[in-house]
């Protein structure tokens, strides 16, 4: 089981790293969206400090959603996906491997570059740490949930717009608690632990439930 998981993971990572622009465009999209807000709303430090957590989270949501289309699309086009469905291995495991690869390529870079973005918004050091931790817990949930939507909209015309309509409502709890953790960390007496507990619960629940759901969605889309 583990070797199958690692094999798919390795394959997806290798393929993506041979076409690095795809990975970089997601990251640049994130950076540009976050940088646009101060130009639009003004650059007072107090205002930015207030807006920062939400803006970074919304940008992360949009960036990971834009990248979702690529999760299955290339494999769908060249027929690899059919082979994965026919393989004698549990499909949810293969899907989980693809999701993990997808997160390593789109979610993890966002977590790493987030401190830089947070500094644009004049956030304190503690808030920056909280933001990184919240993103590290939250972005995998985005990839997991998004995989279901990506599988459902596979090969449809206008799939990208439709995908956002299906998936963004489901992203809302992650956004609320992810941004909430960062906002709360600014207040000295407030405790961020409940937020992390909830984000962790989302992640565990997603890890268990999302791969089978995405696998079922793939079977529906491919039959």
């Amino acid at each position: 089981m583990l070797s199958v998981f690692l094999c798919v993971l390795n394959r997806d990572l290798t393929l993506a790293l041979r076409r690095r622009t795809d990975v970089l465009t997601t990251l640049l999209f994130f950076v540009i969206v976050v940088s646009l807000f101060p130009l639009g709303v003004g650059s007072e430090r107090e205002l930015l400090r207030l807006l920062g957590p939400g803006v970074v989270w919304v940008a992360a949501l949009l960036a990971s959603m834009l990248a979702l289309e690529r999760l299955f699309a290339a494999d769908y086009d060249d027929g690899t996906l059919e082979q994965l469905l026919l393989a004698g291995q549990p499909l949810s495991l293969l899907v989980l491997a693809k999701i993990v690869a997808h997160w390593l390529l789109t979610g993890l870079p966002l977590v790493i570059i987030a401190p830089l973005m947070a500094m644009q918004y004049a956030l304190e050091a503690t808030a920056i740490w909280v933001m990184m931790a919240a993103l590290a817990l939250g972005t995998p949930v985005l990839s997991l949930l998004g995989a279901i939507g990506a599988a459902l909209t596979l090969g449809l015309r206008g799939g990208g717009i439709l995908l956002s309509l299906l998936i963004l409502p489901l992203y809302i709890p992650v956004l609320v608690y992810g941004a909430g953790a960062v906002s709360v960390s600014v207040i000295e007496i407030a405790d961020t632990q409940p937020y992390f507990a909830l984000l962790g619960a989302f992640l565990l629940g997603g890890l268990v439930l999302a791969p089978p759901a995405a696998a079922a969605a793939l079977r529906i889309s491919m039959e």
């Binding site: 279901i148 963004l168 039959e223």
Partner: protein, 272 residues
């Protein structure tokens, strides 16, 4: 006596049954709604609440609360039929999901809309990011997403199954919506909405509200069945029983001929 539980699972058998039920349900729904409106306007106190009562404008509760209840309940119905469809692979279950979704979306919209009108006099604002308003809005998006996904897929079998799976995935949001409304501990929930309490409400208000809910419920049945009949005809248009029925209706007189022509036109459109 042996009951055949699956007799009405066949569209052929359900179509005439729905046809007989729709007028009955519709009339009963209208009667109950009218009664509830009368009771709500004339038999209830002028104020709601104790220390800081709401004046006449509280009467929007008779639409708002039943609509909000129905919006959640119908999503549960939608998800349940989706699950039945995916498990037993019955055509009628999927048709039922498609028939229920628009009604659910309408009730969700109604709850939001009446809520805005109620919020203006009581809170001083049409919209606030109160957890209940937000979660009801998410519910609305879930309904829209279901219908959008279904209509985006041309192959009806794939559309049915994909939308059903989405409805079940969306079910994870329902507890969040439910508990944002019925918060377990009001001290932990910063919300404009008061805690809902059916027990301390004035009995005439409660009567009007519950009768209205029943009326909305029957209306949902009537609307869903009426829509279901159309969906059955569209989906089964190539089957023998629909052809015979339409031909008979066409021969019956000019008043009924339109149905057959429309179906023929639709059929040509599909095959073209």
């Amino acid at each position: 006596m042996k009951i055949n539980w699956f007799k009405y699972a066949a569209p052929t058998a359900f179509y005439p049954l729905a046809g007989r039920l729709v007028p009955v349900l519709a009339v009963a729904a209208a009667a109950l709604v009218l009664f509830a409106l009368y009771w709500g306007f004339f038999e209830t106190p002028e104020r709601l609440g104790g220390t800081n009562p709401q004046k006449e404008y509280y009467r929007i509760i008779f639409i708002h609360v039943p609509a909000a209840w129905m919006s959640m309940w119908l999503y549960l119905v939608l998800a349940a039929w989706s699950a039945v469809g995916l498990v037993f692979n019955t055509r009628l279950s999927f048709m039922m999901t498609n028939a229920v979704a628009p009604t659910g979306a309408i009730f969700t919209f109604l709850a939001l809309w009446t809520g805005a009108f109620w919020g203006r006099p009581s809170w001083g604002t049409y919209w606030d990011w109160d957890p209940r308003l937000t979660s009801e809005l998410i519910l609305f998006f879930l309904y829209i997403g279901f219908m959008a996904l279904h209509s985006a897929i041309d192959d009806s079998r794939r559309a049915d199954r994909a939308a059903a799976l989405l409805a079940i995935v969306g079910l994870v949001m329902l507890p969040i919506i439910y508990w944002s409304i019925n918060c377990p501990d009001p001290n932990n929930c910063a919300a404009l909405h008061q805690r809902s309490s059916l027990t301390d409400i004035e009995s005439n208000i409660l009567t009007a509200m519950l009768v209205m809910t029943l009326g909305f419920w029957l209306y949902s049945f009537a609307a869903a069945f009426a829509r279901l009949r159309n969906i059955i005809l569209l989906r089964e248009q190539d089957s023998a029983w629909v052809r015979t029925m339409v031909d008979a209706a066409g021969a019956g007189g000019p008043a009924n001929a339109g149905g057959g022509d429309a179906l023929d036109a639709n059929r040509r459109g599909v095959s073209a």
